[in-house]
């Protein structure tokens, strides 16, 4: 177990070091997510008054779109240099490689969310700091569910010719429950009077999805990656 976690840590640290040098994924995903929110703001905010209950949905749409971009780029890098093969050759359990890649994606998505949440609060008057811990829990659980499936699919599709098209086509239908739970839970805490029992329910559901998705991904990574 210690070796498993060590390998995951080494892979994550490498991914973040590469990203710190190029800043390619952070810049593109943050810019894309911010543009997405701005487009919705132009469309849905009239005379300074946003459409009621729109903020939670827009937040999660922006997270899903930006996350897809980050997932694709992370593995595109490994494909470009063929380094995924070198990772697969390492004398460690291959799911540890998956976990390392997943952790790297989670850090990148957390950076995007750190920019998105205040933007949503500012443009849609959403009470993002009313229940910060609940919001953080929902975002963490939802992002993990989305990224766990996304990392598996992105790794699987790395050699597919139309991977850029296939990734969202495969990813969104499977992660719809995560997006719905995220939207409903976030909407519950963005209400004028936050509905904590409802937020708790949706967070618990997200944690359930996380357990299922992460377990299945760890289990299927090795056979799916064997050519």
């Amino acid at each position: 177990m210690k070796q498993f976690l060590r390998v995951a840590w080494v892979v994550m640290r490498k991914d973040l070091t590469v990203e710190m040098r190029s800043r390619e994924i952070v810049y593109t995903t943050v810019f894309f997510a911010a543009s997405c929110v701005l487009v919705f703001a132009f469309a849905l905010v009239r005379e300074g008054r946003p459409l009621e209950d729109a903020s939670a949905g827009i937040l999660w749409i922006a997270i899903a779109f930006a996350g897809t971009l980050a997932l694709g780029r992370t593995f595109e890098r490994e494909r470009h240099t063929e380094t995924l093969r070198a990772l697969m050759l390492a004398p460690s359990d291959r799911p540890a490689i998956y976990l390392g890649k997943l952790l790297g994606v989670l850090v990148l998505m957390a950076i995007v969310e750190a920019v998105l949440v205040p933007m949503i609060g500012l443009l849609f008057h959403a009470p993002v700091f009313a229940r910060p811990l609940w919001l953080a829990a929902l975002l963490a659980a939802g992002t993990l569910g989305f990224a766990s499936v996304g990392t598996l699919f992105a790794a699987m599709l790395v050699r597919a010719r139309s991977r850029d098209v296939l990734l969202p086509v495969l990813l969104y239908p499977i992660t719809i429950p995560v997006i719905i739970a995220g939207v409903r839970g976030t909407a519950a805490i963005f209400q004028a009077t936050p509905d904590e029992p409802m937020a708790r329910f949706w967070t618990a559901l997200l944690v359930f999805f996380d357990v299922v998705f992460v377990t299945l991904s760890l289990w299927t990574f090795e056979p799916l990656m064997t050519e």
Partner: protein, 250 residues
């Protein structure tokens, strides 16, 4: 070493990609302290065979045995005894030479990674460029670094796909003596190459592939280039005849 081995046996291995047959019933054996040259024209199946030997690709039929182990049952432990220098060099261009090697040293769980990396950088002749990003390196420098990456963990079986690509004369000869040193230490080295001049005198055994099939190689002495040409000509009588006629006409 738990998963160490001193013999590699390829037994009737075939690999198909859809309807295309990349390898057909290839069998060969290689013992410790041997350098086997894998020769053949482009598309002969050399890289596919190396990928199968490295456990990255599963054969469609047949078996590969590493001593008493096979890839499926031995898994990660066996992978720790293999080193692969692919045609793509498996290096991160954004990272420095040192960071690349340190990453792989930690991935392989090596003890004293820094000392090993320093030694590897010295072997590659890149000690003074250790902290430069690999993206600024020439192909030859990358090739030398990639070879050290493949050797970092002291593999028993070293698989090299076109190891002389991009190397200047001095680096090519340095690689030849490095490979001889590895052979003397008991490594099994399998190198796919087109550079018959550098391979001459280095290879202990030769296997020639053509269209996925292993051809019989004459044991007779003589220059490698000649043996290679004769083997290919003998294996393709219909194609060889016109080209031989053309040669005579010329």
């Amino acid at each position: 070493m738990e998963y160490d081995f001193d013999r590699l046996v390829v037994d009737d291995v075939s690999r198909h990609f859809g309807r295309r047959r990349a390898l057909t019933r290839v069998s060969l054996t290689c013992g410790a302290g041997t350098i086997l040259g894998l020769l053949g024209p482009n598309g002969a199946g050399k890289s596919t065979l190396l990928a199968i030997l490295s456990t990255l690709l599963a054969p469609t039929s047949g078996h590969v045995r590493y001593g008493t182990f096979d890839a499926r049952s031995a898994g990660p432990g066996l992978r720790g005894r293999l080193g692969l220098l692919g045609h793509d060099l498996y290096l991160y261009p954004e990272l420095t030479a040192r960071e690349n090697l340190e990453f792989f040293a930690r991935l392989y769980g090596l003890v004293h990674p820094r000392e090993r990396v320093d030694r590897a950088l010295a072997h590659a002749g890149l000690a003074d460029r250790a902290d430069d990003a690999v993206s600024g390196f020439s192909r030859g420098m990358r090739q030398r670094l990639a070879l050290e990456r493949a050797l970092l963990h002291g593999p028993r079986l070293l698989l090299l796909d076109e190891p002389f690509t991009g190397l200047d004369d001095a680096s090519g000869h340095a690689l030849v003596s490095r490979l001889r040193g590895l052979r003397d230490e008991g490594a099994i080295v399998i190198a796919a190459t087109h550079d018959l001049d550098l391979a001459e005198g280095l290879l202990d055994e030769v296997a020639i592939l053509r269209e996925g099939r292993l051809l019989a190689v004459p044991r007779a002495s003589g220059p490698l280039r000649e043996r290679y040409r004769e083997t290919l000509l003998a294996a393709t009588p219909t194609a060889a005849a016109p080209s031989a006629r053309e040669e005579r006409a010329r």
